[in-house]
C-alpha cells in the first residue's frame, strides 16, 4: 500500500474547522492548509500566518507612481 | 508654369503617374543601377505609406482614417514635382517683375450705374484674389462698398457663360466676331440696349457709331433701379445739364427725405466716409453733425439718424411741400391739400427741424432719395437754395453722358428697328410688367450675357428667337475700360487676368460697330489709351485715376422759377402702400448668384438668402398678418405670395418689397435647389428640405415705378426664414453704451475739473455692469498675470490692439464681406444658417431699444414677459414682434469679432492647445491642431467662434448630409484620391481660384475665428524684417499694416495697430474718453475696445430725449442699484500700462 500523499478532513461548520486548525498548528505541522468557501474570520491567527505582503506591494506601487508623476519635478532641479 | 493652384504651398503639382526617369517615360531602357538606388544604401525600403504628412494637404483630408488609408493607396509616398517657369519671367506681368509667392497690387475700378468705385486689386499667383478701396484716389478716399468686395467672387462664378453659341450650336470667338462684323455692316436700323454707365470711352464709341450709322442706330439704357433721377431733376431745376455731388463732410445738419445715402444710394461708401468724418468725438469741445431722417421704411441711414420721423413714402412729397411752404416758396391750392394730410406731430417735428436748418444757413443739406419722384427733387433744390446750401454742401458738376431712351421707349417704338443688340441687360427678369420684353428679346440678334442660362436666355428656347448670338460678357477684372467717379475724376479699369472664358467686353462690341473698316476695329486697350488725355499713361494705370481730371463745379446756379406741383395721392382705405426697394445684399438681382452676397445678413432684418415683405406692427395687427407667415399681395391685378416680417420702425400701411430675388435659370446660388434625398434630407433627420431664393417682386412692378398701392391678406402658410440674429432687445445690458452729446460734454467737464485728484480716473461715465466691473478687477490679483510673472513672455516689439468706434459704424456689413474674401470663409447655405451655423468671423449685432421699454417688466397677467415665449423658431424668438416698444425704436450697431482677451476663457479650456496666447497679444487659433471639442466656443462670452460642422469647402451645399455611408460612390472616390471633393467639378476648380493662398482653408471639424488677419500681420512683420536686414528696426507702424476689415470700412470705424508704437492711431483711440470694454466685469482683458456711441439730439425737437433709450433700459432693469455706485466711484483701475 503506497504511502498516503495527504490527509484531508472535512467539517460542517467554521467553528469546528477553526478548532481543528488550532490543533494542527499546535502539533507543529508545516505543509497544511485550510480550504473554505468563504473567508473565515480569525483563521489567520489560528494558522499563525503573519501579515499579508499585499500592503507593501501597494505602498511601493504608489511610491513609483508618485515619483513618475510629480517626484522627479519636485526633488530634482530641472535635469 | 503648371500651377497646382491649390492654396498653401504652391509650386508642386501632384503627378499621379509614377515614372522613374525621363528614359522610362520615353520607353527607353533605363540603366539598371539607377533603378534600385532610389534610396541611399543602408536606409531600408520606405515603410507602408505612412500618410500622416499628407493628412492636412490643403487642410482637406476629409476622412483621414489612417487605417483605411493603408489599404489600396500605393506603398510609396506619391512623388510631387516642384516645377519652375518655362522661361525666366523678367518681363513678368504688366511690366512688373514677377516674384512667385509675393502678392502684387493693381489699381482698377468697378463700374457702377452713375460712375465707378476706384479699387485696389490684390493678385496672387497671377489671379486676382481680393479687392479693396483705392486709398490714394482723391475721388473715393478709399471708400468702396460691399458689392465691390463681393464682385471678386462673380469673376469665378461657375454659372458664367463660357461659350459663344447661336441656335444651340457653339462657335469660336473668331466666328462670333465675324458674324458681329457682318451685323455691324448690314442694312436696317439697329437699337442698342445697354446698362447705364458713365464712361468717357463708351461715350466716345457711341459718338463714333452715331457718326457712322447716322439715324440707323438708336441707344437705349435700361436699369431696374434708376439713379439718373438726381441728374435729370437737377438739370430741370437749374435749366442746365448738371448733377449734384453731395459734400456731407461740410454739412452740420442733414435732412434725408427717404434718402438712404449710406445704404442703397449709388455711392453709399463715399457718403458714409464723408458723413462719419464729423462724428468722431475725441474730446468735449469737438463738434458733431446732426442727421434728421424722414422715411417710410427703416433704412440704414434712418437707423443711424439722431431724429427719425416715420412717414409713408407717398407722404414724403407732402413733407417737402410743407417745408417749401414754410420757407415761402410754394403756396398753391394743390400744396395746401397735400399739407393737410400731415399729422400735427409731423408738422411740429418739421418746424423744429427747420429751425435747426435756419440756424445753420449754408451748413445744412437736404437730400431726396432715388425713390422719390422728380418734382420732390426739384423742390429740394429750391429748399437748399433758400437755405444757402447750394454750392456749399452740395456742388453741381456738368453731366458728361447724354440722356438715352429707356426700355419703355424701346418697347414702344420697337417696330422701327430691324434688330436689337443687347449689351448685358436682362429685360425678361427686371423689365417690368408693362414692357413687351419678350418682343425685344425676340428681335435681339446679338447678346452679351454674363450667365450661361438666365431668364432672358431661357425664353430663347422658342424657335422664333433662334438667330441671336450669345456671347459671354467679360467681368470688369478681365476687361479694359474707364469711368468717371463721383466727382468726375476719370478712373482706369484694367484687367488682372486674361478673360477666363474668352469673354468680350462692352467696349469691344461698340468698337466693332464704330469702326468704318470692320477688320481694323480697335481693341479695348487702344480705345482707353486713345481716350486718355493725361500726360503719362503708365502713371494713369499705376495711380488708377487721371490727375486733375476732377470736373470743376458749376458756379452760376440760378434756379428756374416755375416749380412743378406734386401729384396728390392717398392710400386707398383697405389697401397698403407698396415700396419697391433696392436690396442691401443682392442690389437689383445682379449679385443674386453671388454666395457671399446671399449669405451676408441684411443690415436691418438680419435675414439671409431671402427677401421678405416688411410691415409695421400695427399694420400686421390691423390686416391680420402673422410674423414669418406667407401673405398674398396683389398689385395692379397681379399677385404674389411672400412671407411677412414685422419690422420695428416701419411706418404704418407700408409694405417694402426688396427686388432682386426669385430668379430662374441655371443659377446654382440664386436659384438654389436642395437635393431631395428622402433617406437623409427629411424633417425628422434635422435637415429640412426648404426652398430658397426669395420672391420675384418684379412681377408686380411696372417699369421704373418705385411706389404703388396693393391689397395684402394672410394665407397663414409657413415659410422658414433664416436670420443670423433672432433676438432684438439688448435686455437692458450695457453691451452697446451710449450717451447724448450734452451728457458727454457735461461729464467731460466734471472729469477735467477733478482730474487733479488721481483717485478719480473714471475714464468714462457710461453705465457699466452694475459696478460689477469694480468688483471683478480687485486689486489683489489671486494669480499673477503671466505677462507680469515672466516679462520676457511678452514681445517688446509689437502688441496688437483694436478699437471700434460705434459712433462711426453705420452697420453696412462691408467689413463682413471683406473678411470673408480675405480669410477664405465658406458659405453654408440657408438651411445651415437657419440652424445657426453661418461661418462669418465678424458679425454686426443690431439691437433695437425702445423709448419706455423695460425688459424686466411684467406683462398684463403678472407673468414675467419671458414666460409668453412660444417657440424660438427661426422667425425670431418669443413675442418680441408683438410688443409695444418696437414701433419707434432706436437702433444700435456693434461689429463683433474675436476681441483677443488677455485672460482668454477659450485658451484655458482647449484640451489640445489649439488656441494659445501669442507673445504679441494675439489669441492664436492653430487650425491644424484643433480636434473640435467646441468647448472654446461654449466658454467664449462673445460667442465669436465658428465651427465647421460640415466640410463646407469640399461638399456640395445642396446636400451636406451625404456621406460614403449613404452614397457608396463617395467611398470609391475617397479611396482613389483622398483630396477629391464631392462638389461639382467646375464649381470646385473655379471657386478654388478665389481663395487667398496666404490663409489656410479649414476642413470639417475645426473651429475658426478672427485672428486679426494674422496672415497680414506675418506678411507685414516679414517685410519689415527683410527690409531691416541685419538692422533692428522691426517695430510695425500704422503705415505697414491694415487688417481686411479696417481697410474695408468706409466709415473708418475700425482701427488696428501696434500698442507699443506711441503715435499709432489705436493708442490715441484707446485713450479717447469714450473707450470702454464690453463685458469688462468678466476681467478677460479684451484687446478690442469700443468707443461709445454719442447721439446728438436737438433739444427743441418734440421726440427729443435727454438719455438714449439703451441707457434708460439699463437703468430700468439692472442699473438702479449699482449705477451711482459704479459710474462715479473710481473703478480703482485705470488702463494700466502693461496689461493692455
Amino acid at each position: 500500500m503506497s504511502k498516503p500523499f495527504a490527509i484531508m478532513a472535512e467539517y460542517e461548520t467554521p467553528a469546528e474547522t477553526m478548532a481543528a486548525a488550532k490543533k494542527v498548528h499546535g502539533e507543529g505541522y508545516q505543509k497544511w492548509d485550510v480550504h473554505s468557501p468563504f473567508p473565515i474570520h480569525g483563521m489567520d491567527e489560528v494558522m499563525g500566518l503573519d501579515n499579508a505582503k499585499v500592503g507593501w506591494f501597494t505602498f511601493f506601487g504608489g511610491g513609483d507612481w508618485f515619483y513618475n508623476g510629480y517626484g522627479h519635478d519636485l526633488f530634482h532641479e530641472q535635469i | 508654369m503648371k500651377m497646382n493652384s491649390k492654396t498653401g504651398q504652391v509650386g508642386n503639382a501632384v503627378e499621379s503617374r509614377y515614372w522613374r526617369s525621363i528614359g522610362e517615360s520615353m520607353g527607353e531602357v533605363e540603366h539598371p543601377e539607377w533603378s534600385d538606388r532610389e534610396f541611399p544604401e543602408g536606409a531600408s525600403e520606405l515603410p507602408e505609406d505612412f500618410s500622416r504628412r499628407d493628412f492636412l494637404k490643403l487642410m482637406g483630408a476629409s476622412a483621414g482614417l489612417a487605417g483605411a488609408g493603408m489599404l489600396g493607396v500605393g506603398c510609396r509616398r506619391p512623388e510631387e514635382l516642384i516645377v519652375p517657369f518655362g522661361a525666366e519671367t523678367s518681363e513678368g506681368i504688366h511690366g512688373q517683375e514677377y516674384v512667385h509667392g509675393v502678392p502684387m497690387y493693381f489699381a482698377t475700378a468697378m463700374p457702377t450705374r452713375t460712375g465707378a468705385i476706384p479699387l485696389l486689386a490684390e493678385s496672387n499667383e497671377g489671379r486676382p484674389t481680393k479687392v479693396s478701396g483705392n486709398a490714394d484716389c482723391p475721388a473715393s478716399k478709399g471708400a468702396a462698398n460691399g458689392f465691390a468686395y463681393a464682385s471678386i467672387l462673380n469673376l469665378y462664378d461657375p454659372d458664367r457663360a463660357r461659350t459663344y453659341f447661336k441656335n444651340g450650336k457653339e462657335m469660336s470667338k473668331a466666328d462670333a466676331v465675324e458674324q458681329l462684323k457682318s451685323l455691324a455692316q448690314s442694312e436696317g436700323r439697329t437699337a442698342f440696349l445697354m446698362p447705364s454707365a458713365n464712361s468717357p470711352s463708351r461715350d466716345r464709341m457711341i459718338g463714333l457709331i452715331k457718326d457712322r450709322m447716322g439715324d440707323r442706330v438708336e441707344f437705349y439704357v435700361h436699369e431696374a433701379i434708376d439713379f439718373g433721377i438726381h441728374a435729370r431733376a437737377a438739370s430741370k431745376a437749374f435749366e442746365q445739364s448738371i448733377t449734384p455731388v453731395w459734400k456731407f463732410e461740410k454739412a452740420e445738419v442733414i435732412l434725408s427725405l427717404d434718402c438712404d445715402f449710406m445704404g442703397t444710394e449709388e455711392d453709399s461708401g463715399l457718403y458714409t466716409c464723408d458723413f462719419t468724418k464729423n462724428r468722431k468725438l475725441a474730446s468735449a469741445d469737438d463738434s458733431m453733425n446732426r442727421l434728421y431722417s424722414v422715411e417710410g421704411l427703416l433704412t440704414q441711414t434712418g437707423a443711424n439718424a439722431d431724429h427719425r420721423l416715420r412717414a409713408n413714402a407717398s407722404r414724403i412729397g407732402a413733407v417737402a411741400v410743407y417745408i417749401a411752404s414754410k420757407l415761402g416758396v410754394l403756396s398753391d391750392a394743390n400744396s395746401q391739400k397735400l399739407i393737410q394730410d400731415l399729422t400735427q406731430e409731423q408738422k411740429h417735428w418739421i418746424d423744429a427741424c427747420l429751425e435747426d436748418f435756419e440756424a445753420n444757413k449754408g451748413k445744412g443739406l437736404v437730400v431726396a432719395g432715388y425713390r422719390q419722384p422728380e418734382e420732390v427733387h426739384i423742390l429740394v433744390h429750391h429748399i437748399n437754395g433758400i437755405l444757402g446750401n447750394n454750392g456749399n454742401t452740395v456742388e453741381f458738376i456738368p453731366v458728361a453722358t447724354e440722356q438715352f431712351g429707356t426700355l419703355k421707349d424701346l418697347s414702344e417704338d420697337l417696330g422701327k428697328y430691324d434688330r436689337v443688340v443687347n449689351l448685358g441687360c436682362n429685360p425678361i427678369y427686371d423689365g417690368g410688367v408693362d414692357i413687351g420684353s419678350k418682343a425685344i428679346v425676340d428681335k435681339t440678334e446679338f447678346r452679351l450675357t454674363y450667365f450661361k442660362k438666365d431668364e432672358s436666355h431661357s425664353s430663347l428656347g422658342k424657335p422664333s428667337t433662334r438667330l441671336c448670338i450669345n456671347a459671354p460678357l467679360a467681368h470688369y477684372l478681365e476687361s479694359w475700360g474707364d469711368a468717371r467717379a463721383n466727382d468726375g475724376t476719370i478712373v482706369s479699369i484694367q484687367p488682372l487676368i486674361a478673360p477666363l472664358f474668352d469673354a468680350m467686353s462692352e467696349l469691344e462690341v461698340l468698337s466693332i460697330y464704330a469702326s468704318v473698316n470692320p477688320d481694323t476695329y480697335q481693341s479695348a486697350y487702344d480705345i482707353v489709351k486713345d481716350t486718355f488725355s493725361g500726360d503719362s499713361w503708365e502713371h494713369y494705370l499705376h495711380q488708377g485715376y487721371q490727375e486733375g481730371s476732377k470736373s470743376t463745379p458749376v458756379t452760376d446756379l440760378e434756379l428756374s422759377q416755375e416749380i412743378p406741383s406734386i401729384a396728390y395721392s392717398t392710400i386707398p382705405s383697405k389697401s397698403v402702400e407698396v415700396v419697391f426697394t433696392r436690396d442691401y445684399s443682392v442690389d437689383d438681382g445682379r449679385f443674386a448668384n453671388n454666395g457671399w452676397c446671399q449669405e451676408v445678413p441684411d443690415p436691418i432684418t438680419k435675414i439671409t438668402w431671402d427677401n421678405v415683405m416688411s410691415v409695421s406692427r400695427k399694420t400686421a395687427e390691423k390686416l391680420g398678418l402673422e410674423h414669418g407667415k406667407k401673405a398674398k399681395l396683389t398689385v395692379q391685378g397681379k399677385s404674389i405670395e411672400a412671407p411677412v416680417w414685422v419690422q420695428p420702425g416701419m411706418s404704418d400701411n407700408t409694405v417694402s418689397l426688396p427686388l432682386g430675388y426669385g430668379r430662374e435659370g441655371d443659377l446654382r446660388i440664386a436659384n438654389f435647389e436642395y437635393e431631395k434625398r428622402p433617406l437623409i434630407n427629411n424633417n425628422f433627420f434635422g435637415a429640412k428640405v426648404i426652398d430658397v431664393g426669395g420672391f420675384n417682386f418684379y412681377k408686380l412692378r411696372s417699369s421704373g415705378r418705385n411706389l404703388d398701392f396693393g391689397e395684402i391678406e394672410n394665407t397663414g402658410e409657413d415659410y422658414p426664414l433664416s436670420s443670423t440674429q433672432e433676438h432684438w432687445s439688448m435686455e437692458g445690458r450695457p453691451i452697446v453704451r451710449e450717451a447724448t452729446l450734452e451728457e458727454f460734454r457735461k461729464s467731460e467737464k466734471k472729469r477735467a475739473k477733478e482730474l487733479g485728484k488721481e483717485e478719480y480716473n473714471e475714464k468714462h461715465f457710461f453705465p457699466d455692469n452694475l459696478g460689477l466691473g469694480s468688483h471683478a478687477r480687485n486689486e489683489g490679483e489671486i494669480y499673477e498675470h503671466p505677462y507680469q510673472e515672466r516679462p520676457t513672455l511678452k514681445s517688446d516689439v509689437n502688441q496688437w490692439g483694436m478699437s471700434i468706434d460705434l459712433n462711426s459704424c453705420m452697420g453696412c456689413n462691408d467689413c463682413v464681406i471683406a473678411c470673408q474674401s480675405e480669410n477664405n470663409i465658406p458659405i453654408v447655405g440657408k438651411e445651415q444658417v437657419a440652424n445657426g451655423r453661418e461661418m462669418h468671423w465678424l458679425r454686426i449685432d443690431r439691437y433695437y431699444t425702445g423709448r419706455n421699454h423695460n425688459p424686466k417688466e411684467k406683462d398684463s397677467d403678472g407673468l414675467p414677459l419671458i414666460k409668453k415665449i412660444k417657440d424660438q423658431g427661426q422667425n425670431g424668438d418669443d413675442v418680441q414682434h408683438a410688443e409695444e416698444w418696437i414701433d419707434d425704436p432706436q437702433v444700435v450697431n456693434m461689429p463683433m469679432s474675436c476681441v483677443h482677451c488677455e485672460n482668454a476663457p477659450c485658451e484655458s479650456v482647449c484640451p489640445v492647445n489649439a488656441t494659445v496666447h501669442d507673445d504679441e497679444g494675439l489669441n492664436v487659433m492653430a487650425y491644424n491642431r484643433c480636434v473640435g471639442t467646441r468647448y472654446c466656443s461654449n466658454n467664449c462670452a462673445w460667442k465669436v467662434r465658428r465651427f465647421n460642422y460640415f466640410d463646407y469647402n469640399k461638399r456640395p451645399l445642396e446636400n451636406l448630409y451625404e456621406s460614403p455611408l449613404t452614397k457608396p460612390a463617395l467611398f470609391l472616390d475617397w479611396l482613389s484620391d483622398r483630396e477629391k471633393p464631392s462638389k461639382k467639378e467646375d464649381e470646385w476648380d473655379l471657386l478654388e481660384l478665389a481663395k487667398n493662398p496666404q490663409v489656410s482653408v479649414r476642413m470639417r471639424g475645426v473651429m475658426e475665428k478672427c485672428d486679426y488677419c494674422s496672415s497680414r500681420i506675418q506678411a507685414a512683420k516679414i517685410n519689415k524684417k527683410v527690409k531691416a536686414g541685419t538692422g533692428g528696426d522691426v517695430m510695425i507702424k500704422d503705415a505697414d499694416l491694415k487688417t481686411a476689415c479696417q481697410s474695408a470700412c468706409s466709415a473708418d470705424a475700425i482701427t488696428f495697430g501696434n500698442l507699443l508704437d506711441k503715435d499709432s492711431r489705436v493708442v490715441e483711440e484707446k485713450n479717447n474718453p469714450r473707450t470702454y470694454e464690453t463685458l469688462d466685469f468678466l476681467d478677460n482683458g479684451a484687446r478690442t475696445t469700443y468707443l461709445a456711441k454719442v447721439r446728438n439730439p436737438n433739444p427743441k425737437m418734440p421726440d427729443s430725449y435727454e438719455k438714449p433709450f439703451s441707457t434708460k433700459e439699463y437703468k430700468a432693469t439692472e442699473g438702479g442699484h449699482g449705477d451711482d455706485h459704479g459710474a462715479h466711484k473710481g473703478h480703482g483701475h485705470s488702463h494700466k500700462e502693461d496689461n493692455h
Binding site: - | K6, T7, G8, Q9, G11, N12, E15, R20, S21, I22, W34, E38, F39, P40, L46, F50, R52, R53, D54, F55, L56, L58, R77, E79, E80, L81, I82, V83, P84, F85, G86, A87, E88, V99, H100, G101, V102, V797, V916, D918, D919, E920, L922, V924, A926, Y927, R929, Q998, S1000, D1011, S1015, I1017, Q1018, K1021, I1022, V1026, A1028, G1029, T1030, G1032
Partner: protein, 217 residues
C-alpha cells in the same frame, strides 16, 4: 478527466508581466523612430529628370545659391531656376551631353523641367525663406551640406520639433549675414554662442517666436 491547465501555467503571470513590459518598450521605441519625420523623410533622395550635381556647381565651382534660386531672399518660396538659367552656360559647356537633353528640350519648347520636390512642409505650415536668409540663418541649417551632395538628399527631418529647436535658442544657430550663403562656415574656436550669437540676436532684434502664429495661420 485530465487536468485542464498544464504545470507551466503557474508561471504565467510572471511571463505576462515581463512580456508586456518588453513588448511595450519595443513598440514605443519603434514608433518614436520609424513613424516620425526623422525616418519617413530623412534619406529621401528621388531620381531627378536631370542628374544636376550641387557638388560640382556650388561645391567645386562655388556658384552662389542665389544665382539659380534668385527669389530666395525676396519671397517665402525659393524658386527653382528655369532652363534659361542653365542654358546661360550649358549652351556652350556640354552642349551635346545626352544627360542635359531635358534642359535643352525645355529651353526650346518653353516647357518646365519636371524636377521632383524633396523638401516640403505640410500645407498648413507657412515657412518663409526670405525672413530667414536675410537675418543670419544659412541654407545649411535646414538643407544640410548641399554643396557636398551629388544628388540632393532630404538631410534634416524638418519636423516641428526640428524648427522649435532653432526658434527656442536662436543664438546657437545664427551666423553673420555675410556667411549665410557660405555653407562651409563653422563657428571659429572663440565664437561663443552666448556671446557673439546673442550679440547678433540683440543687434538684429531677432524675436524667433515659439508661438503657433509664427508658422500656422
Amino acid at each position: 478527466m485530465s487536468n485542464i491547465f498544464p504545470k507551466w501555467t503557474n508561471r504565467l503571470p510572471l511571463i505576462l508581466t515581463v512580456g508586456v513590459l518588453v513588448a511595450g518598450a519595443c513598440v514605443v521605441a519603434g514608433v518614436t523612430y520609424y513613424f516620425t519625420p526623422k525616418y519617413t523623410r530623412v534619406g529621401y533622395q528621388p531620381i531627378q529628370p536631370v542628374s544636376f550635381s550641387h557638388e560640382i556647381h556650388s561645391g567645386q565651382m562655388g556658384i552662389d545659391c542665389r544665382y539659380c534660386h534668385n527669389d530666395v531672399d525676396k519671397s517665402w518660396y525659393s524658386n527653382i531656376p528655369s532652363a534659361e538659367t542653365c542654358m546661360k552656360c550649358h549652351s556652350m559647356v556640354l552642349a551635346e551631353d545626352p544627360r542635359l537633353e531635358p534642359i535643352r528640350k525645355s529651353f526650346k519648347e518653353n516647357t518646365p523641367v519636371p524636377w521632383v520636390q524633396i523638401h516640403k512642409t505640410p500645407d498648413y505650415v507657412y515657412f518663409n525663406h526670405a525672413v530667414h536668409v536675410n537675418r543670419g540663418v544659412s541654407c545649411v541649417k535646414c538643407h544640410g551640406k548641399v554643396n557636398e551632395m551629388d544628388e540632393v538628399k532630404h538631410s534634416k527631418s524638418l519636423s516641428m520639433a526640428f524648427c522649435l529647436e532653432c526658434h527656442r535658442n536662436p543664438h546657437e544657430n545664427v551666423r553673420p549675414q555675410s556667411e549665410v550663403y557660405n555653407l562651409n562656415w563653422e563657428p571659429s574656436a572663440e565664437w561663443d554662442a552666448d556671446r557673439e550669437g546673442q550679440a547678433l540676436v540683440d543687434k538684429m532684434k531677432i524675436r524667433s517666436s515659439q508661438n503657433c502664429s509664427a508658422c500656422h495661420r
